[in-house]
Symmetry: D2
């Protein structure tokens, strides 16, 4: 919709109408008391109508429809469910718990954590082999060796594996070891990576960027869907705010907003949002109460010795307690933690 300026002349309007026609759209002109408005209906995704603001006399261009046809609930009204061979589901009646250490540091640490989360009832093991770190001097992960450990430890316990992939060229490698691929917040708009995820036969959990709008998150998901991979889940993990007491502000409202706009499953990562382990249980409970389909939780046998994200990792006792609390909330909303 194009809003003409108060001082726009008839010939300004004519130029706008002509340009819209040239782009293949049908303009609808409405003359109001204070403003003239030109409506344009069509496949707005084909073209960048926003450039029309550069024409004389145009005050604003307002987009009315969304730009993510495949991700939209309009396109796929029923909630989508991602199903795994062993019966695990993401997006179904269960709230899927995915837990494990931030980074795979070694076989021993991984086994200790994996055994504990499995015994608490978790069926999906998380762990990072490729770690995107703010500082070049921080631990960057064990790479393929870490992937091998993840797979082997998970297989020993009958767990699925979710792990992060950080570059398009790594997608096939990671997909050989993992059951779910995770795209991190800093890579939400790494389009080469998204395109590679669109071409692989693995479900992808796409994390919302630190300052990405809901609309941008859905457009990023659209890259994967448009590539042919329909197994996409979104993950809210906190947005950047002005508040210094927390690392990121979990945008809890995004859950009902996303549920309205899309039928893709929604995961919440309370650990990265909190930045501090003692805040994790409250955020995890809130997420499930608000409708999350799954949680991604960082657990470490000895958080104060972790090579990354120790501050926000739960120890094994705290995680067991969390599982009980989350289970009760899941029941209160008619689901169950699994």
């Amino acid at each position: 919709m194009i809003v003409m300026a108060a001082h726009a002349t008839p010939s300004d309007l004519k130029a706008v109408v002509a340009r819209i026609r040239l782009l293949g759209f049908t303009p609808h002109v409405s003359h109001g008391r204070e403003r003239t408005i030109v409506g344009v209906v069509g496949h707005e995704t084909d073209s960048d109508l926003e450039a029309l603001v550069a024409l004389t006399g145009v005050e604003r261009v307002v987009r009315v429809l969304n730009d993510y046809p495949l991700a939209s609930r309009d396109f796929h009204p029923a909630d989508r469910v991602i199903e795994f061979a062993n019966g695990v589901r993401l997006g179904g009646p269960e709230v899927l718990m995915m837990a494990g250490p931030c980074a795979v540091e070694g076989r021993e640490q991984l086994e200790e954590a994996a055994t504990a989360v499995a015994s608490a009832g978790v069926r999906v093991l998380r762990g990072g082999a490729f770690k995107p770190r703010t500082s070049p001097y921080s631990f960057q992960g064990l790479g393929e060796e870490g992937l091998r450990m993840l797979r082997s430890v998970a297989d020993g316990l009958g767990l699925l594996v979710i792990t992060e992939v950080v570059a398009g060229e790594d997608v096939d490698l990671v997909a050989r070891y993992a059951d779910l691929l995770q795209v991190g917040a800093r890579n939400m708009q790494n389009y080469r990576l998204l395109q590679a995820c669109g071409a692989v036969d693995r479900p992808v959990v796409l994390k919302r960027g630190l300052s990405a709008t809901v609309d941008e998150l859905l457009q990023a998901a659209e890259y994967i869907l448009a590539g042919g991979n329909q197994q996409v889940a979104l993950c809210e993990r906190g947005i950047r705010s002005f508040e210094p007491s927390i690392r990121f502000s979990l945008d809890i409202t995004s859950l009902p907003v996303l549920k309205r706009l899309t039928s893709l499953p929604i995961v919440v990562d309370p650990s990265h949002a909190a930045g501090r382990s003692e805040y994790v249980p409250a955020i995890a409970r809130a997420a499930v109460a608000a409708g999350a389909d799954g949680l991604l939780v960082e657990v470490h046998p000895r958080p104060s010795e972790a090579l990354s994200d120790g501050a926000q990792s739960l120890d094994l006792n705290a995680f067991s307690a969390l599982m009980v609390e989350v289970g009760k909330i899941a029941e209160a909303v008619g689901r169950r933690a699994a």
Copy 2:
């Protein structure tokens, strides 16, 4: 704590130390390999040590302690409870439900809403008589006439009344009609109003400003506490973020943060955070799951006809459903809605 610059000279350091002594503090100098740091311990609230950054060679001044001794949990470790004559409590084991229309528009609308919320189990009626509105052309409330209606309708149903006060000079007037005073987000740093609230014998629910940090909220509460009124509750109602799909982003993480820093009761207002009624239930459930001691919910008999905040008001059916949902979450965290 004062961090000296890498290039600071010994005489820069001497000047800083001298200035700290002159302010009545004891400096502790630590020479590190890369930087010299001067620690200052004392009642930091007495003075603005931040001005020391203006001295040559000072790189940064880092505040370590908080500036709200009375609001701090250090000062008052046990959760504080506000009790009312009729047995209603805020901060106790119950999650206190406060509900009603955004604005008192007339006797009929108020009675209809109040009767409905009372029959759903609510014991505190909310309603605005003085409305702070963004536009000077919007409905500004009925003033004292609205207060009278609130009191009379509430008395007829055995309800308590919470209503907003927008100026220091109105505090006594509003306190004659209301059981709880509410200070709105836009007035969180209206210090004249806070001082007046400190001098009145009524509990005050202080809403967090749209971009106020947790620290600033606690310092605002400190104004009321320092004035002598110990009955203060804080209210999270959403912060300003970059996300356009919602009016405000409810900062759910602030609940565990506040619970750690203070023992004052915490209320959540899901209606203003959502800006749209269909998002209210998810946010309300999340708030209770995260530890809220009370909820403030906007309810209107016919939201599409409301003179203010219609978009975010629940109708009577939706509110009844919400009460049931919230009750289940309250139980899941070992409390009950009241």
Copy 3:
């Protein structure tokens, strides 16, 4: 403009149209391929059309026109100029320099600062007598005694006075001593104060709230203009962002945005935005380069001893240097500092 949901039924649409008619507007229905849109043109300020989102089948309500007719450039196309008895102008070809200490601390400090800024060419003295402070334990200003000092020192040097007013009930008092009233960022939506400013015969410099949008700033100005006071200037002083290295992020882009939307003069306060004196000159130069009509600068004889805002106050030498730099930039944009 009302955007109907994809799944809206004909009877949903009928209800929306009926409701718009009932509100006294004329609806224009456009049926697009994917959505139906209902345009409403009229005095949108009369009513809160946003409540229509509560009707079944309505997806969104998009506001097209602004809500500040008096502040709008449409209403008053030519740049507005505020003129003072001594020939000083705000909004004319000069860039008006207003400088002085954050707070009036005493006669001596004020005289020293005022003499220095006057000798550097400044004709408007700033200084706070009523100080809104984050902590109740910080210095709160000298009150009327401070106003008296300001007036007397300014008169001795032939300066105008600008000072802050923090409550509606103080407006008449402050107006007896000051030539310009300043409304602080934390009070931008203190509507009682704005209304009092609308009824007084003094120019008002209205500061943008820490997280106020440009639209909200203009609506706040509308309160003063609608009250009958046409002498309003706006002040950009930094907005809250996620960046921890600065106190506030000066929103430099708001200058051309405001210049497009309104003809009211625009002042910039580089001191509060910076939070640290060494950043002030760069921000001050940028503001003038971007079109600011005036600057409000904090100057203190000995910043490290200031009772408030010492970290961001310039000392007298730094201020003299700033005046020279700003003068050059003013010339580069075809104006002059005055």
Copy 4:
């Protein structure tokens, strides 16, 4: 620096001290009246001390030193200058103007724009061949064909070329055609890409992420510097804020902040910050006034027909006018536009 909680026990403190020693650091314990603080000085970049917050009794971990030794001004006090074969410099006394279309759309459009910017005095041509676009359905650039056009058109006019690289695997390809590589805001934390940029012999202009702090920007630059490439410039292009009237808020204060923390040259991109061409000149002037060493400006022969970023591209006349304005500001700060 580790701040112990008020309730921390002596044995909590002992555990913290022991853990710090185990990590190879020397702890300095200071007992204050209200809190005990443990200072740790050393190469903090070696390890993640933040995990210590997971120990019992630790309230906060405050980082005092920066994490970017190579990027820091402490390491390299004098302003760094990037020099090119033809005498063009970035970071020297000139303000380097880089201009051209957002995307290379075809030979004709590129030649027209390049000829115009060259005749206005510009010596560095910008143009995108690989375009990171929010929507998968938007024009994604011409790829290597676009690079070839850029090189050939630039050579014909004696211009240098700056163009964006979006993936680590493309760095060598792009470096064959371009004189400067540009890393976009969405890729600021694409570490694989940064590492590849660290290994190439081309200057890199690294754009600040949409919500990246200054500290994170400098740590991202550190990735390139640590890889061995010392020719890095930083680019401020606007940060995400709550303000809906602009696309991004140019963080003008970051210029003096960056100048204090690093000696790397600073470029500003006024086009992406503005999102609308009429705001570009004011922002460009402000940037130069605040100390920018270069500008990146989008110019298009016919903005309303551009395949990307038309709304914010200047047409050829507007760009010529901008060059004159910027030249005057550059002189006012003792430099010259080149």
